[in-house]
Amino acid sequence: MPVSPTPLDWFPLWLSLQVAASATIISLALGIWLAWLLANRSFTGKELVDALSTLPLALPPTVLGYYLLVVIGRTSWIGRAWEEVTGSPLVFTWRAAVIASTLHAIPLLVKSSRAALESVDHACERAGRSLGASEWRIFWKISLPLARRPIAAATALAFARSLGDFGATLMIAGDIPGRTQTAAIAIFDAVEAGNTRVARLLVIVISILTAVIVFVANRLEQRRAA
């Protein structure tokens, strides 16, 4: 008697997309702000901020996850404060997955956005100042529009990166099917359990999605170069 295949669970994929989208939005805002600070301001500890913003790129994901557990775990003051306000812990929720993905994506955005903002013709920004425009207006009307392509390309790649985070997410969000199990973790689980059909399907979907994102990012970069 043929075994009817169990209906495929799409939840991990949806969760991954939601987590990646949230993480990209947060890291975009935070990353551009940091990049602007690093590109335009001199302050004490600038080198430290620069190094710290790059660190997540270099650290092993599990190490990053461990640090996150220390900082936002239930015994940390952030974790306790969160629990005090919302009534439930922060770790082992989809929000924790968003935090892990954000950290994963942010170095890329800071680096690329800083380079993009620094490559904007400074004479244009000076012209803006001599014409009486505030720094805020210069940023929104001149610097950001002129740097938009490389920043958009970096955003696309950051989205792809947060889509695929495994180690840090597993450490602080866990592997709770239907709650915190993202696509990357679901693939690992499926392979472990010998469920090749699920693993293969998720791999194909993620691969296609990532390929499209990389293609878009490359197009953005090329149009800038042209």
Partner: protein
């Protein structure tokens, strides 16, 4: 009026020696040209006045407003200085049309006034038909006009132009000169213009500040500078002087004349202030003041075949040994084989 008196120093690095700028000048309404070689501190002066660079000490006033004062620790932001700045590369916002570029600058004006002002400047800078174009679709001259128009939108109290003629061909340059001369006649604000083009200097300047290695080494109207370059260094910067090391042979204060030895022979010279017999002085003479002669005579020297440079209005004959002569073309055509150059006594000017 701009009253500037400030210093700015940059410490030397491992591979560069330090640099310091000392600028002290007043600029009345009209065109003040900052003339000098690259790296002399001209653009840095504009940047300090515009507020992009903070001087180390001194004071900068525009009208009755203090833009910078190290004593009172005043350093207005560029936004508050009301200095229009025309950048060397125009610095038009590439993602905005000409009209949007102007509108960006007009943001602080009331709405109706804004439209009127933009239309007015588009019109007077012949940009109305180009208002919808992006900077990349404009020629060099059009970009130049757009960037000047943009700088004028908010009615600046001073206009700073950094090498506006650079990269423009002769026709566009003339165009630019007439735009600047018209602004000079209508705006009545001080305009500082950086250049290392002598022609531009003479075409536009009311006052010239000559920069060399971070100092203003001489100043005056263009004509004053030609008649009295002051020092050999300035004469060299102004380009075309013949410079002579001369020995004073005799002075005649009664007739206001002198006798000097230069180029190996005796010459009649002008009255030389503060000089005595036996002193050594540096004299200069401009090429157009030297004359060609066909026979020997006082203040003449025999010359051989020159190197010849064709110039638009004349022939420049270089006989070597600081004997460069500008000769009208028809005179040059009729010249005989035997040639003398005459240095009239009054063309010899004393340098410090």
């Amino acid at each position: 009026m701009i009253q500037a008196n400030f210093t700015k120093a940059f410490a030397g690095g491992r591979e560069s020696s330090g640099y310091s700028l000392e600028a002290q000048f007043n600029a009345e309404p009209g065109v003040t040209v900052l003339y000098g070689p690259s790296g002399a501190g001209k653009t840095l002066t504009l940047d300090a006045i515009a507020g992009f660079v903070a001087p180390d000490s001194g004071r900068i006033m525009l009208g009755d407003r203090i833009l910078y004062d190290s004593g009172a620790t005043v350093h207005l932001r560029p936004q508050e200085r009301r200095c229009g700045y025309v950048f060397q590369n125009y610095a038009l916002f590439p993602h905005m049309t000409v009209r949007q570029n102007l509108a960006f600058a007009a943001d602080s004006l009331p709405r109706l006034e804004r439209h009127r002002r933009i239309a007015e400047l588009l019109e007077s800078f012949r940009l109305t038909d180009l208002a919808g174009r992006y900077p990349r679709e404009l020629s060099g001259g059009q970009k130049q006009r757009a960037s000047i128009a943009r700088a004028l939108i908010a009615e600046p109290a001073a206009l700073l132009l950094d090498e506006p003629g650079r990269g423009l061909d002769a026709v566009l340059r003339r165009d630019l000169y007439s735009v600047i001369l018209e602004m000079k006649a209508t705006l009545r604000i001080p305009m500082l213009l950086v250049t290392h083009d002598l022609e531009e200097c003479f075409a536009l300047a009311d006052q010239v500040l000559i920069y060399d290695a971070g100092r203003i080494v001489h100043r005056g109207s263009p004509l004053e500078l030609l008649q009295n370059p002051g020092t050999p260094a300035v004469a060299r910067l102004l380009g075309d002087f013949n410079l002579y090391e001369a020995e004073v042979l005799a002075m005649d204060p009664g007739r206001q004349t002198s006798r000097v030895r230069l180029l190996g022979q005796e010459w009649n010279g002008p009255h030389l202030r503060g000089c005595f017999k036996g002193d050594r002085v540096t004299l200069c003479a401009r090429p157009e003041e030297l004359r060609l002669a066909t026979k020997p005579g006082p203040n003449r020297i025999r010359v051989e075949t020159p190197r010849v440079l064709e110039r638009p209005q004349s022939i420049r004959a270089d006989f070597g040994e600081e004997l460069i002569v500008d000769v009208p073309r028809e005179v040059w055509r009729e010249k005989p084989d035997d040639l003398w150059v005459e240095i009239p006594a009054e063309s010899l000017r004393q340098l410090r």
